[in-house]
Symmetry: D2
Subunit: 352 residues, 4 copies
């Protein structure tokens, strides 16, 4: 019953097997190997166009380096108030961008609307040097609340970006989970909707360490290798990342693992609902945030369930946790089993 | 005949096997897992004292973050003119340190002497704000020339550091190779000789991606986790690095692989000498820099040998490459075979 | 009727005269001149203890460099949501601190309470690397709303700082204006209340360009000259700043100019009240924010009054501007005359 | 006999008088005042084209911010080994540029040649990420050795810049002194010769604090105001700098003061030569570096002369100081008098 996080799992079998398969022999370092070329070609296929792909060490690095590539002196980056880049990356974005400021846009369900973005951006008008200048916009797909932006929502946000001539970045730490939810193509969810650069995360969905920055604007990618190297993020034995991606994409492994994780989350949510519970936000990917009685949480933990208590901010009255309630976070992954889910729900239904 | 670099190899069997062994099940993320604790304890044993160990993604990151932890405003970092941090890291040290300046100390054989360091440091006297202030000293062990500092040399450099109250950093990208050459303990080569913080590299010597910053001064390590995270270098599934280290240290794998690599380099050097050739610098680890006739290099390349032409700077007249000669770099690793060496020497001896 | 800003005035006669007086002859550069020594001694007298004083070019530089001197990797700086450092300095604080994040504390009247600070600080608990670490707290005295913290309020904020072991910075761009309002000593308003480092502004109150960072903790000041020089803020002909300070402090010029400015603001506020108007916040220094009918503002502007429309955020319903109203900012200075005030009030009273 | 530095003088009468003249009344802050417009127009006239001018606090700031505006991740800035930006600015350039590295080009007389530059630049080839990328070139005019680049020399350096597509920056801390030496126009010495951006210094030549960055490429200037503000270098009462420039340019004050300073240096040099002495480098501006017997230097100091001992690096044997000799630096300015020069030479000729 381990629902602590999707980064508590190891690597999916297809990924581990690809890693072992490519372990033998010599191969050029620093991303100049044939396997990297082959994986890059797969990225092109997935996105239905030529893209520029750069492997980096972590999701924080992917986000921060992507934002650094479009940073400006005195730049403002707009993101959700609960975005990972805003609250969970120890100022990596600020550091990598030479001090760009992350301005929080608010919105329910972990998403912000185009209108909310437009209004926030008005705080940084063009030509007023004291306030700095708009630099970029970042959305998370799936969000930190386990919800997913629709294509229309992304398109509307893109329009605001275009109106101020700034690029749209997507933090895709859980890209695959969002993708299988929407059921659209990777191209649909990114450049066709107006995304300019993407943090493509694979670690949480079945790799050890496979994160990439993907540029849809090849010109904008030209300096990126220098940003990456300046940040210490160019792996020497880079093929070990390429190998993971090969296994990840092979036979649609990534979609399968994401579907599985999402399915487990859905089952959990349904079980909780049947047990009379509710979740803080809609369950649209592989995270769910049930609001439980504190006694229920304690019973679950006593039974061995791993989960985190979570601050459930911004919930409407009536929906927010009552005084004897608590919001918890459950995360599922490729490694979550039906047995885990069943065991969890059984404990839950045995509590009052 | 692949002597291009030790980072062209994959992972040693013991490392790959440890990675596979620890793939199953759930484990806490971000370095809070039991395996990391166990590996940290091994570091303590190897260094014969309690140390603070932090995994990071690359050797450049290890160096730059270590130097960032002791950076000062207007700080000067002293290193060899050919040091990796000076010429091969795309300003990662400058960036991570908020603009510390790397001052090159010169010296033959890839090493600088305590005297040369003292003289260079005099360019940054205490209390002259225009010139900045001394911040740290970094030595590479083994050096970029494939040579190794003796313990006495390190001790003399440490004395200069102490006289100016700055820490001594060691870039140990090829730590194991230097260690087996000196035949001393890891403690002898580091803190007992005066090293304060260490980039402990394992990637080149048989891992996929296993680099660590090791602090011998635990107080100095207190902020380091923030430097690491701010740089995007805290792995989520951090156990995959811990697993590599477990395999690396198991049954002295690391010393075995390093000894093997060094031995291959020694054999190459002897064969070259017997063929009437010479090397630019003494062969003390797993790199050698033969000075060949250009025609020899071309014959070797035609026969499939992978090697790089190398700028042989600072060599005395008579020893430096003549007009029809060229200096090349050969690097050996755990994956280099006797057959590779034999084949290379056979081609060489067949040339004039 | 120029109430646009106190930085629209020139230099007060005593300041200009000191500048002319010290123009002749040669004097050591970079702050090593006798006049700087003499002015530093005056700072000691004013603060009733030995302080470390550093001249810098601007108030933004003073704030940002002060905060840089106590920055931490992943550091969080707490300030009011409307603080100058947060909204008006083009990310200079973020840049100078290597990417520290400014977290906004909310509170009415441009001030935040100790309780609000404590609650906000709880978002950055000790030991959670993802959220960074607390670095410093900054208050503005007087505030951007023209209000002033009481000594008790500062003391309570200091207690919160101490509980998390971070220094308390005061942005004193309008230090003198606040001081004469409180009627206490400069020592009372700073280190005796718990302030650790101070941006001491004199430009707005009668100098051309005279800003200083004042450290009450001499140890904490040790590296500051390097921060200043690294930021390009060490003047060569530094005595021209020293001269301004000499004139500024001579015969209590600075208190006289501040009293005058505050008095003009008070008169304006009273006149506005008598004309049936109100101000957004209490008038406690040399800024006031009347809420006027839009037609009144336009009449004043038509009559030649210089003033800025201002976003009056955070006002309670009933008090906030109605749909036909607008909040404006008026700033007075040493150069504001009774005639200016009379003229303004006359126009105002002639409107409906 | 004060020859310590040109920044030991105060402000020239025309400058002081302009400052006083513009002290009255209100004027918009932050460089939006009419006086700044008028001074900007004067810059256009002087440079015979439209330029973009930005006032900053210091010469270090001018250089560093100019270089920041054309910085690149992993960027290399090429300058003379003795350049002010390399040895006297406490890493301000490295800091402001996000860690660009200053690579020293060597050359006699404080100048480097186009060939030396080309050779050094070859160390940073295009497309090798480890070595970073070329970012800019900076020359000092006049140099730190008191010499001046000819227009042909600048043109040849410009050709190298163009061949690698990087801008050419000129550190003009002593711009006027070089200009009157060459006897050409300011346009000739800058953009017509290939200079792209200029640190225009006026402080040393008769102002209190008047430094500007001048862009000849208006597009390249577009972001500069944000760099300036982010560095804390936008003055609020900016007209006090504009006023100084007005006085500086009025009636060719700047050329007169520079001619005077240069003339004083020439007279000193001739007197030294007649007394059997020599200078380390040709005297082409307002600095000279006599090589004196140590006893002579001591006699001069005993007589009250202010001068600095100077490291005379890179001098040919026979020309370099002998064991009983010492190199000193003398700097003249608008404030140097014939009497100072006479007194100095009289003491010198009385010594053996």
């Amino acid at each position: 019953m381990n629902f602590a996080s999707d980064n508590w799992a190891g690597a999916a079998p297809a990924v581990m097997s690809a890693l072992a398969r490519h372990n033998d022999g010599f191969s050029p370092a620093y991303g100049t190997d044939p396997l990297t070329d082959s994986v890059s070609a797969t990225f092109n296929e997935i996105f239905e166009r030529e893209v520029a792909v750069f492997f980096v060490a972590t999701g924080s690095a992917a986000n921060s380096l992507a934002l650094a590539s479009c940073a400006k002196p005195g730049g403002a980056i707009f993101c959700h108030s609960g975005a990972h880049i805003q609250v969970d990356e120890c100022n990596c974005p600020e550091f990598m961008t030479g001090g760009n400021k992350l301005l929080s846009v608010k919105g329910p369900n972990g998403r912000f609307s185009a209108d909310a973005l437009r209004e926030k951006m008005a705080q940084v008008p063009d030509g007023v040097v004291h306030h700095g200048q708009v630099a970029s916009v970042s959305i998370s797909q799936a969000t930190e609340c386990g919800t997913v932006y629709t294509l229309d929502e992304i398109g509307a946000i893109k329009d605001v970006c275009r109106s101020r001539s700034v690029p749209l970045h997507m933090d895709g730490a859980r890209f695959a989970n969002a993708l299988v939810t929407l059921g659209c193509s990777a191209a649909d969810m990114t450049w066709k909707a107006g995304v300019d650069l993407l943090s493509f995360g694979a670690t949480k969905n079945g790799c050890w360490c496979a994160e990439a920055v993907v540029f849809f604007d090849l010109d904008a990618a030209k300096s990126f290798e220098y940003f990456r190297k300046r940040g210490g993020h160019l792996f020497s034995k880079s093929r070990f990342v390429a190998a993971q991606f090969e296994g990840y994409f092979q036979d649609d492994t990534w979609l399968t693992t994401a579907s599985h994780a999402n399915g487990m989350a859905t089952r959990l949510a349904e079980g909780i609902r049947q047990a009379g519970g509710r979740t803080a936000w809609a369950v649209e990917a592989n995270e769910l945030f049930p609001i439980l009685k504190r006694s229920q949480m304690e019973a679950l933990q006593a039974a061995g369930a791993k989960l985190y208590e979570w601050p459930a901010e911004g919930l409407a009255e009536g929906h927010a946790p009552a005084s004897d309630e608590v919001c918890v976070r459950l995360v599922t992954s490729f490694a979550t089993t039906d047995e885990d889910v069943d065991a969890f729900l059984k404990v839950l239904s045995g509590t009052v």
